[in-house]
Symmetry: C2
Subunit: 348 residues, 2 copies
């Protein structure tokens, strides 16, 4: 029995927006995978197009992390949702000290979304993955009816391998440890906020989205003895340090004057009445290190492009367990509370 093959009945290549059929698992899905995803993210593992990626990693403990990105707008000063989704998940992996290897990517796309925008976003995911040395090895696409989601959401889940001699955890803070911040805070959150509000100073405030695994590598090369590390995203530095203090049952005392905030970001925060300590960052880390190794770690950070403004911003105290306090510059201390509600929805 011989049967002739048929040609495709639809002029698919001419579609310029995403259709429900692109999420059907059928021929349109296959074409979207070829034209958009493989074109920009392709590698040997992803190219096999199995329902799962199969690969080997070096021996060691694994680090697994997931984040869904719902940032609005999709394109903002300093980046877009695609590179944010790659960098954010790379950062969550490497904050455990792990070397990031692979990502999965899952798209939820609103029917009618422009394919040109999707290509731009996926292209910048490819560039961000290349820059941080990770591969997208498996993925998924769902398309929902117009009105059922706001344009585009992206989930990335990442896997890495933790070096044997590293034990980084929010539970590991010890009194006397130094708190080191890698650079200015509140850039990402205020870039989204000012861009969304159309404020006049927006052009000078840009997201700090960046992959921090290279910076972490130089820090660990100085000393594997980093006690805790995190990238302060949603909830900002205030949320991260409160979680650290609570998890380890210690107090944290910050030197308010030592926390770097860019001038234009400080201005935007003041106009909008927002505390920069509560604002999301996407390319900064805070590390808690023993006092003896702090100078060496700090010096190494300052030699890295993403850590040139690194500073010791405080230390861990045995007093007031669970509380974060900050000097105000007038000799007084204020409590830095865990943010309760939502100042800036859809920041990441």
């Amino acid at each position: 029995m011989k049967i002739d093959n048929f040609s495709c009945p639809l002029p698919v290549a001419s579609l310029d927006t995403v259709q429900l059929g692109h999420g059907s698992g059928g021929r349109l899905t296959a074409e979207l995978i070829d034209d958009v995803f493989l074109a920009h993210l392709g590698n040997e593992i992803l190219g096999r197009l199995e329902d799962q990626a199969v690969f080997s990693l070096p021996p060691g403990r694994l680090a697994l992390t997931t984040d869904s990105y719902v940032v609005d707008p999709l394109f903002f000063p300093g980046g877009n949702i695609g590179e944010l989704a790659v960098n954010g998940t790379v950062n969550d992996i490497c904050m455990s000290g792990a070397r990031p290897f692979h990502l999965s990517v899952s798209f939820i796309i609103e029917e009618g979304f422009p394919i040109a925008d999707l290509k731009r976003i996926v292209a910048s995911m490819g560039a961000a993955a290349k820059a941080s040395g990770v591969s997208v090895v498996t993925g998924d696409t769902k398309v929902v009816n117009k009105g059922s989601c706001d344009k585009l959401f992206i989930n990335t889940t990442g896997i890495g391998v933790v070096p044997d001699n590293v034990a980084i955890s929010a539970h590991n803070l010890h009194p006397g440890d130094k708190i080191i911040l890698s650079g200015t805070i509140a850039d990402h959150g205020m870039a989204i906020m000012t861009s969304r509000e159309g404020l006049s100073f927006q052009s000078r405030v840009r997201s700090d989205t960046a992959a921090l695994n290279g910076l972490v590598e130089v820090m660990l090369a100085v000393s594997p003895e980093i006690h805790a590390m995190r990238d302060p995203t949603r909830g900002g530095l205030a949320a991260t340090l409160n979680e650290f203090a609570k998890a380890s049952g210690v107090g944290i005392v910050l030197d308010g004057g030592a926390i770097p905030v860019a001038l234009e970001v400080r201005g935007a925060c003041e106009i909008l009445g927002i505390d920069p300590l509560n604002v999301a960052n996407e390319g900064k880390l805070v590390a808690v290190v023993p006092p003896l190794v702090a100078p060496g770690v700090l010096a190494a950070m300052r030699r890295h492009p993403l850590g040139c403004e690194a500073a010791v911003i405080g230390e861990v105290s045995p007093d007031n367990p669970g509380l974060v306090a900050c000097s105000t510059g007038l000799g007084a201390m204020r409590i830095v509370d865990m943010p309760v509600g939502e100042q800036l929805p859809r920041i990441c």
Copy 2:
């Protein structure tokens, strides 16, 4: 310096719907994690509440897979989005022959979503995870403004370990291989469809959502020589077999009369004019095995509760590479084409 602790300023426990603040990374997020996620999914790794899970797995190749679930309605005959999200990802892992170990879970929730519904969904995720022997080890929650997503989307990403002697791939089909299907097709898709349309026969059509890792285990115990395996979800058996035929450059010939379809499902398909071969399944697998091991694999499947209706439904042919054909019962053959567009949006 001693500072008194403060009590929470909001009566959070009395909230009965999800607020934007639940996704802020602040105190409301922490409470949602405690009250809902840890209550139903908790385990030692998840309970650490780090931004990433760190764990060890047995040595071997890893399998990684991701899926976002956008099914509408959230609750349907036979299941809900929560157990679907666990079972679906467990299935994508074990279709590589891997033993599934861990999942990440990420929620995108519409502001105003009832917390009682969220608890029901998360509880059934916990039950499904327990039933299939996997742990949810890390997670993420985003809340978007009312109208920015339709109620609730869930991403699950899973990791497993592939046994050394297994090499399952869509590229591995050989002429003469037998096609084995584990049971009736089209149950899940038609359950969603009839429930959505409010059709009168809906009460008799139920989703087949189930985790297939136990079934795969008994199949591999008979023979590791399974050439290809997949759970035919979106696009149905037609999409899966077309992908197999294309990837391996072989033809597939099906015996239409041997493909089990439940009577009520066949009826629903006929009324709605839908080909059951194109309809999604969520608890079925199709395996391609060498003819010599097929009888043993089939017998083992039939002894398992999820494979008691397993059947050989066709075989791989050297003719017509890339094409799937099906006997119609009248001595004629029809082409089973790759579905092009979308018959049933938001089926999973």
